[in-house]
Amino acid sequence: MKPARFDYIRAVDVAEAHAALAEFGNDARVLAGGQTLMPMLSMRLVRPKAVIDIMHVPTLRGIDAGGSDIRVGAGVRQAELLAWPALGEALPLLKAALPWVGHAQTRSRGTVCGSVAHADPSAEIPLCLLALDASIELSSRRGRRRVKAADFFTGMMTTARAENELIEAVHIPKMQQGAGYAFREFGRRHGDFAIVACAAIVTGTNVRFAVGGVADTPALRDFGAVDGTALADALDAFAWDLDARDDLHATARYRRELVRQMGRAVIEEARRCRG
């Protein structure tokens, strides 16, 4: 379990990272916290020609709350965002979800954007970004663009990032006044990837609901103003539409049932905590 050979490029600014990505394209892998890339390197599932370490780029290290949304740079570790004093005020959904990301010993190194880049369908951060209508800021030598989370996660660990692009940051809309947010997850053990994870945002009577761990990507549905049987029907239809599959840890039927029951619970919780 040792990685194959690669060049190591320690970028000191974004331009260097862009240059390396332009040079190596799909033969490069960006290394930030390394919590998912490193095992894949050691298992030789990935064999890049170059690994580009972006953790020494100072401009990627900040959380910027100055604008209309929160900009979390590619160098921000999950533990840093979790410890950010304004998190509960600004991003209550992430405050609820981040403790479910791995363990303290991996959150200390793993980055927010790294989880977005890896796009594991069971991961909590992509799910929250989708639910919150966040966008991903991509840049390359050729320019800069923002992609909505809904368009970014395109498949199993597959994203809309072009091979020469760097995820520079994610932009997450701040908490809306009067909205309620809730997150729940079930994994086999504490810290495991979710079998089912649910996020709900209730604004007025409007219900927005997202599910991770079931389909190939996190999945979102705007239920509108539903309650009672209509909500149950909406959850049931969504559960079926996710095309859940059996695997070692859970059956498809189990996953659908968790979407229905945990989904209802998380929506009710979000309702209760409307500000």
Binding site: M1, P3, M157
Partner: protein, 982 residues
């Protein structure tokens, strides 16, 4: 019969003294095998392993790997068979067992080639350059299916997969069943699991050509009966196979017995290269292919009286040892043979034991060794008796326990239960453990609509295995020919140095259990010293130390056997010193006392000499000491007379000591998630005399944690095609501090009359009692009869979640199974006639154009193609080899494509049926497919491979349609599967 147990007068034993091992381990100065330096020039090995569960090896091309700078050698089955012999197999059957695949692989992870290079990194680089052509064979993973006459046969020498079958009969079970008021039956399928020590296997092997001798350092744990197996395989006499163990070993729980085939393999590699070779197993190798506990299918019937007393048992056990019968298997099946009646007074027993081979990793030692499998059946049965006869489960256990005052007790199948008072321990546990309160808790919880259940288990925990029990697998006639096997030689040496210091050498090969501390306590008590005065050496060197085939760290034998041998060795040297002192102090030897570092006359502490001075006498002044009193070094070999060979009637005292455990627990089940929460767990132990309460507690909580894992989380799971599904610690779920509660531990002590210290084993009991105790509680909570481990939330929720709503009408039927099956269908219309489509499908050029990422399609025959494919899925770009065969050809209407794809991520095999129908505008193409996917690294690779397969299938048909100028049906499979207008 009761033998007085002599208890040393001093008091170190019985105290939880701090461990001598800990200071080094806590400061990062442990000496584990990979912490020790190696000689300059030592090479490092890496192993290429089979991705297939069953395949013929058509060719292995190693030239490119051999040419890689830094590579010293590449060994395959051909080289290994030339330099070694097959491992001896423990049943009378014409089969071989090699440490590497020879012409054929029989399980995923079986070694196929060994690369030896300048570093592990380079060795793994070379593995990438080895090309193997496999011709896959049909696979059997289920032990019952393996017995089917149509099942693929793993070893032709056997003609079937049945490696051994034996029938046993004790008492008159037929009569008991005929007369009994009730017959109660359970069938269980005990899963595979492993205690997965945190340190993996490690070996440094050297070969001395001048002496034709091997010197191997390995974190092997015994039993050293396997020394003979290894020496024979390496084709040297035992005295030319020196096996050493490092001072520290990172846990074993039986598992490090399984390093032994690799010792042979690395020995061969050292011989082939003429250099020392080091191999440290990695975690993926360990999980996939080190060793596993056996999975077993058991049907157990009881003949039961109206009052719940069990009169007879009928066992039918099908033991799955995996792809090879690797020594000492089938020991897992026979270790418990004397204990098949558990803690109960049952005089009539019939047994049918079958050992079968399947395409899975070979099995071996694992904490509990046979106990979890046996007690899961027996204790589920006891609960079912209570349920079916509408009796209180407490009462059913109470009525069947071996009565007080009947020890030593000979079981129907031959075990001699040394001591105990099961009824007393049982009643004490119910009282002190708060069983009445637990029942109230259940009543209250149920009244509140919560799902709550109580489980109970009574278990006899055997320890100190009889080396002869395994011969019960042979018929009495075969045993007579082979000569009797029995006993369990334990050994210890006590040495006095010229300054009067005391050293102890043992062959117990500790793996973290604190043997050095306890031996220091035992010998200090004997000699009137402090534990810190005693230095204990526990690393073993077969060239220098006293050892026997029974040496090692298994069957919970340390406290009873090795501890006892150390006491006897200390007594022996003490007796000599006492005689020496007697002459110096002018008193009789039996009036000499050892205490406080001094040796004195009883009743006259002033008439004394320092221990160290007395102890040094035989070094400095041997002339003063008569020859029979020379006290320098005493070695004791101790084998208890109770460990006799199997009788002609197949009665076997399979173990020397038998502890007693009675557990009960309360569990609550989450009504949505189905997760089990252990609310209360009480475990009562009678493990004889306790030498170190802290360590005993550690054995109980540690065994309990393993059992919680086995009950709720852990399974070495295989798909139907034999691919291994739990190859990382993200898939094989080991419980953490969040999952393991603290059990309440209770003790009673009835010393064993058969061991020098009155001690018994304690390390394995909870692995036997706890899984079934939790299962009984879950069965009670859910009111269900049949329940198999692990008790996953999804499995449990299946009993809670009611009927599901009907799926929307357009949905394809849900797919079942724990493998990764992809199934789908679709259709498309193209603008050319069926004949054209047909020709394209059979043309390599078209295939190259439509197989995604294909670069080089070779036509082997008209209906057989090979292709190289490069695919990027998510973060993983990999090269794959596709082997595609066409069959059921009905030109130009229908064809079946069968493909096997292998590559970096793992392998997939699938079949697709394509049907062509002429329509006005050209051809309607209808297809459906089925694919089984086996990821190399299940958690990541398997899921990525799912994605890859979807992409490939999608692109294949899209390209076919494009190539023929057509258009996919909008509402077809892609639309459903991908949702986003694929």
């Amino acid at each position: 019969m009761s033998k007085a147990v002599s208890v040393p007068s001093a008091q170190w034993c019985g105290q939880s003294v701090e461990r001598v091992e800990d200071a080094a381990l806590l400061t990062g100065r442990g000496r584990f095998i990979d912490d020790l330096g190696v000689k300059a020039g030592t090479l490092h090995a890496a192993i290429l392993r089979s991705p297939h569960a069953h395949a013929r090896i058509a060719a292995i091309r190693v030239q490119a790997a051999r040419m890689l700078p830094g590579v010293a050698a590449v060994l395959t089955g051909a080289e290994v068979t030339e330099l070694s012999a097959s491992l001896v197999v423990g049943v009378k059957a014409p089969i071989e067992c090699w440490p590497i695949a020879v012409d054929r692989v029989r399980y995923v992870g079986e070694p196929v080639a060994v690369v030896v290079a300048s570093s592990r990194y380079v060795a793994e680089d070379a593995l990438d350059l080895i090309e193997v052509d496999y011709e896959t064979l049909p696979v059997v993973v289920d032990p019952v299916a393996a017995l089917d006459p149509t099942a693929p046969v793993l070893h032709e020498g056997l003609k079937s997969n049945l490696a051994s079958e034996r029938l046993f009969r004790y008492g008159d079970p037929e009569k008991a069943f005929a007369e009994a008021a009730h017959r109660v039956s359970v069938t269980i399928r005990y899963p595979r699991n492993s205690c997965t020590p945190m340190e993996t296997y490690g070996i440094v092997a050297e070969y001395d050509a001048a002496e034709d001798a091997y010197d191997v350092l390995a974190n092997f744990m015994g039993p050293f009966s396997l020394h003979a197996v290894m020496a024979r395989a390496l084709k040297v006499p035992g005295n030319r196979f020196r096996l050493r163990t490092p001072p520290d070993s990172g846990g074993s729980f039986g598992v490090k017995q399984g390093v032994f085939p690799y010792i042979v393999l690395m020995g061969v590699a050292a011989r082939a290269t003429g250099r020392p070779v080091k191999w440290i197993e990695d975690r993926l190798e360990h999980l996939t292919a080190s060793v596993s506990a056996t999975n077993r299918v058991t049907t157990l019937d009881a003949a039961v009286d109206a009052d719940g007393c069990v009169r007879a048992l009928a066992w039918d056990q099908i033991e799955d040892v995996g792809a090879h019968i690797r020594a000492p298997e089938p020991a897992t099946l026979y270790r418990m043979h004397g204990n098949l009646t558990g803690a109960y007074d049952i005089r009539h027993v019939s047994v049918r034991n079958r050992v079968v081979l399947t395409n899975k990793t070979p099995t071996g030692l694992n904490r509990g060794f046979g106990g979890p499998q046996v007690y899961y059946a027996l204790e589920r049965l006891m609960q079912r008796i209570a349920v079916e006869l509408k009796l209180d489960p407490v009462e059913v256990i109470r009525r069947n326990l071996i009565p007080s005052g009947s020890f030593p007790y000979r079981t129907a199948t031959g075990a001699l239960l040394d001591s105990g008072d099961y009824v007393h321990a049982f009643e004490t546990a119910l009282r002190d453990g708060g069983f009445a309160e637990l029942r109230e808790r259940r009543t209250k919880a149920r009244a509140e609509g919560r799902i709550y259940g109580i489980g109970l288990t009574a278990v006899v925990e055997p320890s100190v295995s009889n080396m002869g029990y395994i011969t019960t697998v042979l018929s009495p006639e075969e045993r007579r020919k082979a000569g009797p096997k029995n006993g369990a030689q334990a050994t210890a040496t006590v040495t006095l140095d010229p300054l009067g210091g005391v050293s102890v050498h043992v062959a117990s090969v500790p793996q973290g259990q604190g043997h050095r501390t306890v031996l220091a306590q035992i010998v200090a008590d004997e000699l009137g010293l402090k534990p810190s005065d005693i230095r204990v050496v526990a690393e073993l060197d077969t060239a220098r130390d006293a050892w026997s085939i029974a040496s090692g760290n298994y069957s919970s034998r340390f406290a009873a056997a090795t501890g006892g041998a150390a006491k006897l060795a200390a007594e022996k040297i003490k007796a000599k010193l006492a005689r020496m002192a007697a002459s110096q102090l002018n008193v009789a030897a039996d009036e000499i006392e050892f205490s406080g570092g001094r040796v004195c006359a009883r009743g006259n502490p002033d008439n004394a000499i320092p221990f160290a001075r007395l102890a040094a006498t035989s070094h400095w002044s041997p002339g003063l000491v008569p020859e029979e009193n020379q006290a320098l070094r005493e070695t004791v070999f101790w084998s208890p007379p109770e460990l006799t060979p199997p009788t002609k009637d197949d009665e076997i005292n399979s173990s020397l000591c038998h502890g007693f455990i009675f557990d009960f627990c309360g569990v609550e089940i989450d009504p949505v998630i189905g997760a089990v929460r252990i609310d209360k767990y009480i475990t009562m132990h009678d493990c004889g005399r306790i030498l170190h309460p802290g360590m005993v507690a550690g054995q109980v909580t540690g065994g309990f944690a393993h059992a919680v894992g086995a009950a709720l989380y852990e399974e070495y799971a295989y798909a139907e095609d034999g691919s291994f599904l739990t190859g990382t610690f993200a898939d094989y779920l080991v419980p953490t501090a969040m999952e393991v509660p603290e059990p309440v531990i209770l003790h009673v002590e009835t010393p064993s009359p058969f061991t020098p210290l009155g001690t018994k084993g304690v390390g394995e009991g909870n692995c036997m009692s706890t899984p079934v105790c939790i299962a009984n509680a879950v069965a009670d909570a859910l009111g269900i009869a049949s329940i198999d481990l692990p008790l996953t939330p999804a499995k449990i929720a299946g009993h809670i979640h009611g009927a599901e709503s009907a799926p929307p009408p357009t949905r394809p039927a849900p797919v079942g199974g724990k493998g990764r099956t992809l199934r789908g269908a679709g259709e498309a219309q193209v603008n050319v006639p069926p004949e054209t489509v047909w020709r394209m499908l059979l043309d390599p050029k078209t295939l190259e154009a439509i197989i995604p990422g294909a670069h080089g399609v070779t036509k082997i025959s008209d209906t057989h193609f090979r292709a190289e494919v490069t695919l990027s899925v998510g973060p993983v770009t990999g090269r794959y080899k596709a082997d595609i065969k066409l069959s059921d050809l009905h030109e130009p209407r229908a064809v079946t494509l069968t493909g096997v794809v292998t590559g970096a991520l793992g392998n997939a095999r699938g079949a697709g049926r394509v049907r062509l129908t002429a329509i006005e505008t050209g051809t309607k193409v209808v297809y459906d497919y089925d694919a089984e996917i086996g990821g190399k690294v299940a958690s990541i690779g398997g899921r990525l491979l799912d994605g890859a397969a979807k992409v490939v299938i999608k692109q294949f048909f899209a390209a076919l349609v494009r190539q023929t100028g057509g258009k996919a049906e909008k509402r077809g499979f892609f639309g459903r599967l991908f949702g986003k207008g694929a």
